[in-house]
């Protein structure tokens, strides 16, 4: 045992205490650093709020003039300064919906092939990697490819459907010209495929293996297991991925602009040229002269902003739900 003397603590003198409370250099750096991080994180938030504020502000004259009727009015006539958003909402949602029709089955199939053990591991991850690369291709390059390659491939097919079913099925009732809602939707479907496949794959990968084993142990085949146990378990997560992909599709600009045909149409036929909100913005925002035209376009921006916001919040909500479910089970 050492003497009690050695264990004694220096009595707190005035000087000692002062030294302890006076900020040292590291304290200062620490605090400064913290404030910097706080400030930085505020910037994204500020941008988002500013965005909402400025867009709403700019759209306000048009909102005042057209009101909510803007959403359902079918006329978009620049010379007469008549502006109604319905054809553009139709083109945006229509192409988005078509993109999902193509992307969901392919995306989920890719997710299953790359998460179930149908293939050796290296092949699975190579496929996943390849699909992921699709996400790297710039949208304008997709547009170029869509314009010069996809359209010539699709046109004969569309013509065939038109001549065969044009009179009986309204969806195919107009003479295809190559560009149009269907072409835009298909191109969008390819572009959102990596998002959909990646999210679905992640979700499928976390479906516990014991559920698969449990099902197979009862004599279920692989696909019975996938359809009855695995996919239902992954359902809400996959829907989250679908919504995320839909958000991408609705806001996608360049590729759609290059293949949708750019006409403010509402036609039951998917072969008809159409126009989406991003596309009309890309094409006409710079040329808009009259305030009310700019206002109407900004109103469209606001609609698009809110639309994607809603879809994305839904997606985030679903993903959170899935994460929470994971923790609790």
């Amino acid at each position: 045992m050492s003497s009690p003397h050695n264990l004694s603590v220096p009595t707190p003198t005035e000087e000692n205490l002062a030294r302890r409370t006076r900020p040292t250099k590291t304290d200062l750096a620490d605090r400064l650093f913290r404030y910097l991080m706080y400030a930085a994180s505020g910037i994204s938030v500020a941008i988002l709020l500013l965005m909402g504020w400025i867009i709403t502000g700019q759209a306000l004259p048009a909102i005042k003039q057209f009101g909510l009727g803007f959403l359902v009015s079918r006329e978009w006539n620049v010379p007469d300064l008549q502006f109604g958003a319905l054809p553009l909402i139709y083109g945006t949602l229509g192409s988005g919906l078509i993109s999902l029709i193509f992307a969901i089955p392919i995306g989920v199939a890719v997710a299953i092939v790359t998460s179930e053990d149908l293939l050796p591991h290296w092949l699975r991850s190579s496929i996943a990697f390849t699909i992921e690369l699709l996400a790297a291709i710039p949208s304008v390059v997709f547009g170029l490819w869509g314009f010069y390659t996809l359209i010539p491939i699709l046109l004969p097919l569309q013509q065939f459907l038109y001549t065969k079913f044009g009179t009986t099925i309204p969806l195919f009732s107009t003479e295809p010209s190559g560009s149009g809602l269907l072409t835009a939707g298909m191109l969008l479907g390819i572009m959102i495929l990596p998002t959909l496949a990646a999210v679905s794959r992640e979700v499928l990968l976390v479906v516990p293996g014991y559920l698969r084993t449990g099902s197979m142990a009862l004599g279920a085949t692989r696909w019975e297991t996938i359809f009855r146990v695995v996919l239902p378990k992954a359902f809400s997560g996959i829907i989250g991925g679908v919504m995320l992909a839909l958000g991408r599709a609705l806001g996608e600009t360049m590729a759609v602009t290059m293949v949708i045909g750019n006409a403010e149409n509402i036609s039951p036929s998917v072969f008809s040229p159409a126009y989406s909100i991003p596309a009309i913005l890309a094409n006409t925002f710079a040329e808009a002269q009259e305030d009310i035209h700019v206002g109407a376009l900004t109103y469209l921006v606001l609609i698009l902003f809110l639309l994607t916001l809603t879809v994305n919040i839904g997606a985030i909500g679903l993903v959170r739900l899935v994460e929470r479910g994971e923790k609790s089970s």
Partner: protein, 267 residues
Amino acid sequence: MREIHKPAQELETAIQVNNLSFFYGASRALESINMTIFKNHVTAIIGPSGCGKSTFIKALNRIGELEGKIKTEGQVELYGQDIYHPQVNLNQLRRQVGMVFQKPNPFPMSIYENVAYGVKIGEEKVQRSELDNIVESALQGAAIWNEVKDKLHKSALGLSGGQQQRICIARALAVKPKVLLMDEPCSALDPIATIKIEDLIHSLRNDLTIAIVTHNMQQAARVSDYTAFFSTDESRIGRMVEFGETKQIFSFPVDKRTNDYVSGRFG
């Protein structure tokens, strides 16, 4: 424990294992297992961790094949039929050799749907009313009917671990297997839930053949008629050391290693 009156030779064989060796990839996990699982009896498989008990039991319904590249040598016969024959229909095999896992693994659906699952995927069309009956009798067979009969359409995930495990047993029973494999079915459960499962095993023996892996020696002694003791050495290859009537294995083991293990003196 139930008295076994007839000598072993006169008992009917459910599963006959001859010279079974099992490989994960290139590495051998089991070597030359010979064993008979008798009809309407409970066979316990005991042994230290890593000796290949799970590997063995999973070789009896070929569920281990889901986990990767495996290879087997030797034969496993279910009522005289080679289950490793190339033309064997695995779905058919697994319906006849059911399995209950260590961790309860009910599907994320209602209790009813869990139990009905195996029946629904089966080949015969089953009427709704008949399905109701099957579900009820399976749940009764698993001694959980009274606890869940009022919430059949609630999620099975809301039940306690012991209840979930009995749902899994009911789920296996609903397809009317000939043999039920259980891999440490009580290791995730508390003592009361364990007792319930053990009682259940006792009653199931009347129309079912059961093979159960357990770490709990008292449990093996309580529930089983026959016991197989597996062990391994530095080679990490699992072998069966001794097989016999449970009474004999626990009271007069022939092999010293068995004796050490059952008396708790094992490394």
